[in-house]
């Protein structure tokens, strides 16, 4: 019988029950969804890293490695496997597309994951194992023939299989490109046998066995120990990059970290709003059921039975909300993490399975236990004393004078203001929850939209200020001479730069040397303002400045990889940059005695001469487009958050509005009987709502600003962005919050037309 009562009571409070379930499911959904994103990404990338034997270290040598070198590396204790590896960017014949040719002598290291066709064959004389994404975009099928050219070499092969590879998890030609574009760039694996076949005998006689300039190694050793062991084994200093320093691994893990940061702030706020509101509502429902609780007690039901019965409401809501929430979480997770999403364009992996992190389950259990406990405690409070005590209706706390009532200003207030003020203080938890709901809505809106503004401003600054050229011409620094660079840049009326990898305090950063005569490349200071480079020192990016605790006037020492030289530069300033980099003019680089060759020319000319030294060109638009797709990843998250914020605040505020309406029903009925018009009573209700909204907005604005700046600090290792919140964001956040709050206020206030004065006033006080 009590079970029947349970369902009927749920029916009676259906608005509250439904809103509580929606709140919990949204809170849980956003929390689970956002955490699922990074956790699944971690698991799914782990899968391809494992399946394809992603190397822990890459050792580079411009002179190449012999088979003997490989054996020496393999002999290092702690090295589990190693392979000589080669990758070069080749052009697809009669096309502008570029394919990275990759050869791994030992396919267990830096290998491939087959998605279609024949498995990789290390002995195949003509087999191509092509990127399945490139194949799909370019309509290439298994069995098709492809011809590639690299410098003077031409190689033709048959596509035997379509694959994915962890080495090309984020498949970009170089670090200037942020997003893969499989229409024009992909990768292809071929066998070591085929590689030997295509190298002309004359070239082989020159390089001997040292075709491979890279050894990829699987080893659990720490980098320092590994580098020492390698240098001891090969008796020379070499550039060694750990997997953290590869684009594939670092960018994928960067996404994971970004997801973790996002998942740890806003969704937590979301979940706490949902839980706190649920707690308040649960308590109120129990209070309004007090007479029934008393009746059951008076009838002879044991306290434990009544407790069980009423506690089951909270448990039922918790369970229903959690189940729905997990569904929403999966939906959100899938929306962000599916092969056709922006993430799918960014990361190329075979498996897009979704996983719920273990701690989400713990939190889900905790939420249910917590809600049940709250239900239990509320009912126990109502059951206190004798059956007669329990039968008396719940009476809210007695009114006490507020301290501010002594002030002259309070005495001058009209009755409506006094009424609302005292009501706010009398129902503190409800007021706080409403305020919390509005602040939360505001924080999520300011945070979400502000993130959007910040990113846009960041990209825009680069577009408008930093990138002042129309075309970027990438040169082959191995073959070009200084004179040829000067000639070419003169011809193109361009500026040029040289970049190289240098070691700074054990980590690789990029050193960029610029020769600027046309102002085609500009640099941004910390305030995103134009900053001309001086010839008196080097500029470091904000990340290096922060991580190494350096500022203008300090000195820093770096050494180019593969050389024993080290240079000490004076820091002239700090700039904002896309990559972790040290920037200086060619004049200063020469003062320091750095040996460099230009590898890029920046120009406004589109008339690029035919030259064997030019590897490829990139338009400004193409560079910006790759930013655009990259930003999409963030937009998806931001828009989901905003949507969820609006829905959650609607539900939270409606729920609290109904609660306030129910609690003041009798008072409103009295006002109505006395002769107050419906509009006036609605005005009373809405004015309280508006006060709380204004207060919520006033708190929410700085809180949103704070959350965003915390988020940016947390993401600082990924981006060098300066917090920007545009007036539109403030306006939209304020307006949207007002609209939500006012809309809910009006919805609730409309109800007062239906107040049954007679019935309301007959009920016992």
């Amino acid at each position: 019988m009590l079970t029947r009562k349970l369902f009927r009571t749920i029916g009676r409070y259906k608005a509250q029950f439904i809103s509580m379930i929606i709140m919990i499911s949204l809170g849980v959904g956003v929390f689970v969804g956002f955490n699922m994103e990074w956790y699944s990404l971690e698991k799914d990338t782990d899968f391809i890293f494992e399946q394809t034997g992603f190397a822990d270290y890459r050792i580079y040598s411009e002179s190449g490695f012999t088979a003997e070198d490989l054996e020496k590396i393999k002999a290092i204790s702690g090295v589990t496997d190693a392979s000589r590896f080669l990758t070069v960017n080749a052009a697809v014949k009669d096309d502008t597309d570029i394919l990275a040719i990759a050869v791994s002598e030992n396919i267990d290291v830096s290998g491939v994951y087959l998605t279609e066709g024949e498995p990789y064959d290390a002995e195949s004389p003509d087999g191509f194992w092509l990127s399945d994404q490139y194949a799909a975009k370019n309509n290439v099928h298994v069995g098709d023939k492809l011809t590639l050219t690299y410098k003077m070499l031409t190689v033709t092969g048959t596509v035997k299989g379509l694959v994915k590879a962890s080495e090309f998890l984020i498949c970009i030609p170089d670090e200037t490109q942020l997003m893969p574009d499989y229409n024009s760039f992909g990768f292809v694996y071929l066998s070591p046998v085929m590689l030997q076949d295509i190298i002309p005998a004359i070239f082989k006689s020159f390089v001997g066995d040292s075709l491979y300039y890279q050894i990829n190694v699987k080893s659990p050793l720490e980098k320092k120990a590994f580098v020492e062991a390698v240098e001891a084994a090969l008796s020379k200093t070499l550039l060694v990059l750990s997997k953290d320093e590869t684009v594939s691994y670092s960018e994928a893990m960067g996404e994971v970290e970004e997801g973790k940061t996002m998942g740890s702030i806003l969704p937590v706020l979301f979940l706490s709003i949902a839980i706190l509101t649920m707690v308040t509502t649960m308590h109120r429902i129990t209070a309004s059921e007090k007479t029934q609780i008393g009746t059951l007690k008076a009838l002879g039901f044991h306290d434990s039975r009544i407790l069980r019965h009423y506690t089951s409401y909270a448990l039922a809501i918790g369970l229903a909300g959690s189940l729905l929430g997990i569904g929403i979480g999966y939906l959100l997770g899938w929306y962000i993490m599916n092969p056709n999403s922006a993430m799918g364009t960014y990361i190329d992996m075979p498996r897009w399975d979704l996983y719920v992190p273990w701690f989400c389950w713990v939190i889900l259990v905790f939420i249910n236990v917590f809600l049940t406990l709250i239900g239990f405690l509320s009912v126990r409070q109502m059951l206190k004393g004798t059956a007669a005590d329990a039968l008396r209706p719940y009476s809210p706390k007695k009114m006490r004078h507020l301290a501010l009532e002594e002030t002259k200003a309070f005495k001058r207030l009209n009755f409506a203001t006094k009424w609302n003020l005292r009501d706010c203080f009398r129902h503190k938890s409800r007021t706080c929850m409403t305020l919390f709901g509005i602040v939360g809505c505001m924080v999520l809106l300011v945070g979400g939209l502000g993130m959007n503004d910040t990113m846009k401003a960041f990209v825009q600054s680069f577009y408008d200020n930093a990138i002042n050229y129309q075309l970027r011409v990438n040169l082959d620094s191995e073959t070009i001479t200084e004179d040829e660079v000067d000639k070419l840049s003169e011809q193109l009326e361009g500026d040029w730069s040289a970049s190289m990898s240098v070691q700074l305090e054990d980590r690789p950063v990029s050193l960029e040397i610029y020769h600027i005569t046309h102002g085609l490349v500009r640099f941004l200071d910390e305030d995103m303002q134009d900053m001309p480079l001086s010839d008196d020192g080097a500029y470091i990016c904000a990340r290096i400045a922060k991580e190494s605790g350096l500022s203008a006037g300090d000195t820093l020492t770096f050494s180019p990889y593969g050389s024993d030289d080290s240079y000490t530069a004076v820091i002239a300033g700090i700039d904002r940059s896309l990559s972790e980099s040290i920037v200086m003019t060619d004049v200063y680089a020469e003062t320091l005695g750095i040996d460099f060759t230009a590898n890029t020319i920046y120009t406004d000319s589109t008339d690029v001469p035919d030259s064997s030294h030019i590897l490829n060109t990139q338009t400004k638009q193409a560079i910006m487009d790759s930013f655009g797709t990259f930003m999409e990843l963030m937009y998806v998250m931001v828009s989901l958050l905003i949507l969820a914020a609006v829905v959650l605040s609607l539900v939270v505020l409606y729920n609290l509005g109904i609660m306030s309406y129910t609690e003041r029903y009798r008072e409103m009925a009295t006002l109505k009987v006395v002769g107050f018009r419906d509009r006036r009573i609605a005005g009373l209700l809405i004015s309280q709502n508006l006060w709380l909204t204004v207060a919520g907005i006033l708190i929410g604005l700085p809180a949103g600003f704070g959350v965003l700046s915390y988020l940016l600090t947390a993401l600082a290792s990924e981006y060098e962005m300066q917090l920007v919140i545009g007036p539109v964001t403030y306006l939209v956040s304020i307006l949207l919050t007002f609209l939500v709050s006012l809309g809910v206020g009006l919805m609730v206030a409309r109800k007062n037309r239906h107040i049954d004065m007679v019935a309301a006033l007959k009920t016992e006080e």
């Binding site: 004078h401 006395v674 002769g675 007679v758």
Partner: protein, 233 residues
């Protein structure tokens, strides 16, 4: 002069198939300035009658004329204005606003009544001037009912409608409240209508209206109504 006229008034409540005639073809004329008691057992229809007179409810059929105005066809806002100007209510359960002080509870009607009286004077008259800054929850039941009388009279209405005003009070306090209600209303020339099932109160009335099963069975004038202290409580 008649201040109230009911012409063939019925109030029918429908609950699914079931139909309940709370008031059935009632006709009634009541004189201004009188103390009227509506008497009847529970469910007889007396509260329905009071609600119709107070503009809390509309009749299903018939005409309710109060102070020369047909209130049976008024809209929601017009009824609110009518309640603000013409009638004052005193309920069994006081219905004070818990978050307003005694003074504020009385003064709040000054915002809406066209011709209100001084709230301080009203509270002085009901003997609660020392408690004007207390909240209702700090007062006894009798005191709370006195506040509700002060509030009703502060609007300066022509008619005072009281639904079992002493129902929640012990008999001693009840008599005190009743005496106060009567003396103030008479001094101020108000028409008082009290709905009750208490026969003793009826002995104090100028007019006694008896209601049973939704019908008005009698409307008698009493030549010599008793004073409150003369009634054997």
């Amino acid at each position: 002069m008649n201040i109230i006229e009911l012409k063939d008034v019925s109030r029918v409540y429908k609950n699914g198939e079931h139909e309940q005639r709370a008031l059935d073809h009632a006709n009634l004329s009541l004189e201004e300035g009188k103390f009227i008691v509506v008497l009847g057992p529970s469910g007889a229809g007396k509260s329905t009658l009071l609600n119709l007179l107070g503009g809390l409810d509309n009749p299903t059929s018939g005409t309710v004329i109060v102070n020369g105005k047909d209130i049976s066809t008024l809209t929601g806002n017009e009824l609110a204005d009518y309640r603000a100007a013409t009638v004052g209510f005193v309920f069994q359960s006081y219905n004070l606003i818990p978050t307003l002080t005694v003074l504020e509870n009385v003064a709040l009607v000054k915002d809406i009544a066209p011709d209100p009286l001084s709230s301080h004077d009203m509270l002085k008259a009901v003997g609660l001037f020392d408690h004007i800054h207390n909240f209702p929850s700090e007062l006894s039941g009798g005191e709370q009912q006195r506040v509700s009388i002060a509030r009703a009279l502060c609007k300066n209405p022509k008619i005072l409608l009281c639904d079992e005003p002493t129902g929640a009070l012990d008999s001693e306090t009840g008599v005190l409240v009743l005496k106060l209600l009567l003396s103030m209303a008479r001094e101020m020339g108000k028409t008082i209508i009290i709905v009750t099932h208490n026969q003793n109160i009826a002995r104090m009335a100028d007019t006694v209206v008896r209601v049973r099963s939704g019908r008005i069975v009698s409307c008698e004038q009493q030549e010599h109504p008793l004073a409150a202290e003369e009634v054997d409580w």
